[in-house]
């Protein structure tokens, strides 16, 4: 088995700037469940944004944006979750730690959650996380939250544009990356 760091090294030199395959599951690495986000082009650096999308709304919203051929930046890597309430703040921190430039969590509008209150409960956790990161001195604008319904393909595209711009402006993350 390859040593973890060598593996990541090898992986990042392999990827060309255009064909970045930043999300690679590393099943044969010690940390089975980790996702490697290290592939990196020195110039023309495009930020990588992990988007946790709720299966019932935002994921379908993203799908609609796709089928509707609405253009949005290709910087997001989507992870489908059953509900925004499933997103543990630790998952967000972990993304930032493993080199994601930004994280977006998107769920159903208040009142529309498939599990009735998942997004309301998530909202409380996000308030805490948001304030904690800010106080800790992590740039505001690395972590974003949105409500996007299954009918809002346009909105999804807009959110992604906005998030990508904000994250791009922040430059390369240094603070949490391990």
């Amino acid at each position: 088995m390859l040593d973890r760091d060598t593996h990541i090294e090898a992986f990042s030199t392999m990827s060309s700037p255009q064909a970045v395959t930043p999300v690679q599951s590393c099943a044969d690495l010690p940390d089975k469940d980790c996702v490697v986000l290290r592939a990196e082009a020195p110039e023309n650096r495009e930020p990588k944004i992990v988007a946790f999308l709720c299966n019932w709304c935002s994921y379908a919203g993203a799908d609609l944006a796709g089928t509707g051929r609405i253009q949005y930046p290709a910087n997001v890597r989507v992870i489908r979750v059953p509900c925004s309430g499933r997103v543990d703040p630790l998952m967000i921190l972990r993304c930032l730690q493993r080199g994601a430039d930004g994280v977006l969590v998107s769920g159903c509008h208040p009142g529309d959650c498939h599990y009735i209150a998942g997004n309301y409960l998530a909202r409380r956790k996000f308030v805490l996380l948001d304030e904690l990161l800010d106080f800790f001195g992590i740039e505001k604008g690395r972590v974003h939250f949105s409500w996007v319904s299954a009918a809002e393909g346009e909105k999804f595209a807009d959110v992604v544009k906005q998030v990508t711009e904000t994250v791009k402006a922040l430059g390369k993350p240094t603070k949490l990356v391990r």
């Binding site: 208040p110 909202r123 956790k125 904690l132 106080f135 800790f136 949490l176």
Partner: protein
């Protein structure tokens, strides 16, 4: 050796409280009301007390009270099956309230003996006031002073100067919930307004983000990941903590700063809306890591965003188990 306990203080409040504690402990054990009584007894060094677990009424004389009774004894409660009597200060009882609220202990299985608290000492501050490499051989507390003796020194410190930072701004020195209150409320310190407690946090928040980050990074750099802070906190009772999980392995012990930061951010998030600023985590740390600003700021955020204060009421629901439609959402796109 004369250690700092109530017995050294003659007839005053602290001595009276100590008597009260011994009596009530003996009574409860005698009557079979409790299987175990948890209090403080003299430690092996001056300025130190250690938790005492009593099962026989005649042992009650071992119990002591004084400003070095710093441990939060609520931490032991979820481990006992029978009925337990426990001594609590104002902050300790609020963690106990949270344990009841979160169904970790049942109200009828615990006899709460409250003490009107005058504050406890901070050993770091004592060390600073005294200068390092001075070994205390004898300590004695009176109402307003702390007398310390050792080889070649004999100093009298103002109690105010060595008070723990959490106590300085304590809002609930009188236990909010108890079966028996030793003495009366007038024996406790004065209540402070919440604003007083947040001054430091507000001051710190004015620094630039980079400065804030480097302050925390510097603190966390010293962490040796012993997890004593977690062990000391009554609210960290999960049978399997996220730091111990192997799959997913959230935290590793050989990855350095980034993983340590993740641990501390995770810990602060897990006690957010529950932490009562009892200071047990900070006191437990062998490496002197002080992240009280983080937990204190969380407390402030929770108060401002959700009008919620932790550990005051055994009814209702914990902060993160419920919601309001009107919760803040201006940060959501």
């Amino acid at each position: 050796m004369d250690k700092m306990t109530g017995s050294a203080m003659g007839e005053d409040t602290i001595g009276a409280i100590q008597e009260g504690i011994r009596n009530i402990a003996a009574e409860m054990l005698e009557a079979g009301e409790v299987h175990v009584f948890i209090g403080y007894e003299e430690g092996t060094l001056p300025l130190r007390t250690t938790p005492a677990f009593l099962t026989r009424p005649e042992d009650a004389v071992r119990l002591v009270w004084g400003p070095s009774c710093e441990n939060n004894l609520a931490v032991y409660l979820p481990k006992f099956k029978g009925t337990v009597g426990v001594i609590v200060k104002g902050c300790d009882v609020r963690t106990l309230v949270n344990l009841i609220l979160e169904n970790q202990i049942s109200r009828d299985k615990v006899k709460i003996v409250g003490v009107p608290c005058r504050g406890i000492i901070d050993r770091d501050r004592v060390g600073k006031a005294l200068g390092i490499d001075r070994i205390i051989k004898k300590a004695k507390a009176t109402e307003h002073n702390l007398m310390l003796e050792g080889d070649g020194f004999d100093v009298k410190l103002e109690f105010q100067d060595v008070l723990a930072p959490s106590c300085e701004v304590c809002r609930y020195p009188v236990p909010v919930l108890c079966d028996v209150l030793i003495g009366d409320e007038s024996m406790a310190r004065d209540r402070k307004d919440p604003e007083a407690g947040y001054l430091e946090v507000e001051q710190f928040a004015k620094l630039r983000p980079d400065e804030r980050f480097s302050y925390f990074a510097q603190q966390i750099e010293g962490c040796i990941q012993c997890y004593a802070c977690r062990q000391a906190c009554p609210l960290c009772y999960c049978p399997e903590c996220f730091v111990d999980r192997q799959s997913p392995k959230w935290i590793s012990r050989w990855r350095g700063l980034s993983d340590k930061i993740l641990f501390h951010l995770g810990r602060v998030l897990h006690v957010a809306g529950r932490c009562v600023d009892c200071g047990a985590c900070r006191r437990a740390c062998p490496a002197g890591v002080d992240l009280r600003l983080l937990t204190k700021n969380m407390e402030k955020v929770v108060k401002e965003s959700f009008q919620y204060e932790s550990g005051l009421d055994i009814g209702g629901l914990p902060l993160l188990a419920t919601y309001e439609r009107e919760d803040p959402d201006d940060f959501i796109l």
